[in-house]
Amino acid sequence: MNTLYWIDDTHDEGKPPDQRAKARIEKALKIKLLIATIGSRSQFGELLPTIVQEKPLGVIMDYQLTKVSESGQTVFGSTWAAEIRAACPSIAMIGISHELEKNIPTLRLKNFLEFFPRGQLTGIEPRFDDLSALLKGYKRVFQAKTKEKDKSRIDLMKRLIRPPSSVAELVSSAIPSSLREPWDDETPHVASRWLWHELQGLPGFLFDELALATYLGLNLKGLNLSKIRSKFDSARYKGEFASEARPRWWVASIRRICEQVINRQIIGPVANVRDKLLDIAEVAPVERNLLLSRAHGHRSTHDIPDCVAYRDDELEERDRVQAVFDETRVDERDLNMPFGFEARRIYKGR
């Protein structure tokens, strides 16, 4: 059975999972969870060889290890994460903390494959699907690096991504230069982060649920009608790090599917034919208003939103809305996006 380490401090605020939470994680991920509480740097030094020998699937590391250094100061788990990865690069490093992600320096975050607020792994609705996708995905990326040493790096990435043939070359163009060179021990971590945070995390090649609903002229409730959502199964992203809890669909495939569904060509926004889609889903006219997308700041569904935007500069995922493009602005942090990715937009008002 695969193992997963959970490294926490001994300080009260740490709160590693109790027996119940541990059992829940083990059951959901089908792994053995080993919890290590660390009170000093020397204890970590003693633990490291064990981890290296055991080669667990991953390590969940507390970002803020309180009163762990010899002078009693806080040590950052991101530093130890880099140490573990250097000693055993096949281990996926996952960060957790009470600290908000936005308050953590980006370079430190990059030592982790993904970062979870502590409550998202131990709370009421734990993100086990995502955690499982991360651990399995990282393992396969690392294995691909080892097994496919002599093959083209672009081909390797394409095998990991599995794009539809119509966009395979376009996706190739978007692969960053650091992943085109011969891979070293750190490259699987870089590649995995790119697959999870950029390819799947940024708008460009893939739609998330809200973006897909917006493209179709529906809200999330409308998209989630089984007769609508199931039509787009063939467009689902099925490459590495695909997660049921974080579904993605290939942008390039959606129009063709809609055209097949309504049996005619669509020029311009697909959202303009949303009533046809609802016809196919056999939704009665009186029920439709509750399923149509509505532009943020608008009372009616008449002005069809054509983009997804953040409500404000905080860029909180849960604060994204369907908006009219002209009522949004580009987030200035995204003014120089890499090829294929679109800048995130922020609602600016009507």
């Binding site: 311009g268 303009n272 294929g340």
Partner: protein, 248 residues
Amino acid sequence: MKKKLSKSSKPTPTATYFSKERNYSNLVEQEAQFFTRLLAAKDEFQGNLTVRQALQNTSGFLQDPTGRDLSISVSFDVTDFRGKSNAPQKLFLGTRLQPRKSTDPNQNPQFTQYFCLAEGGKLLTRVHFDREFTLEAAEKKPCPHIQFGGRPGALMNHAAHMHWVELVDKPRIPSMPFCSALLWHWAFLEYQHVPEFARILRKPWWNETVKHAEASILNSFFSDGRRLIEYQPHYGLLNAFYTECAIS
């Protein structure tokens, strides 16, 4: 009234430029193929940041050509062949594609190519090549046409845009159809004394691209035009530019 063609001279179903080839989706598919090829060969334009930047902006369009806008402009340094002006000149080539946004059938999709020449901040030449899709529009226009003013949108860079005379609508000169591949090729031919263009014009991939564009865009136009003159002279070729003409 349509004149019946003899069975032997009956056109192939694809040769219908003056009736059906004004279809926006066919045109943007050709554009998508051109920009895909350009993307694959982007190293050929390595020193030109405007080309790299323009190609950066094509990704969304290439994934969804009939749904997304494309608005790009590239510039090249050129020189006056006859040496009338020693000042460096900038050649701007632009493409603006925009499908009909709303469900209003009277809203016109945009399919426009731009050619603009500037010297310093001074505009020397500007033309654009337009397709009209709203054939029932109040003012009849030739399709395709070349226009010296019109509304360029926010396409050209600031220096060129500030000199564009939006008020000048006419003349709209009936023209053979253009697409981005043909526009670029034509511009390269016009300035083939510029080493960068001469080099591109010698490349097999470029000539393949142009050949493909010509087959896709010009074939039906010229064959229809020839058939129109030969078999349906009562329509008149120039008239056919202005109105949809049913060639059987």
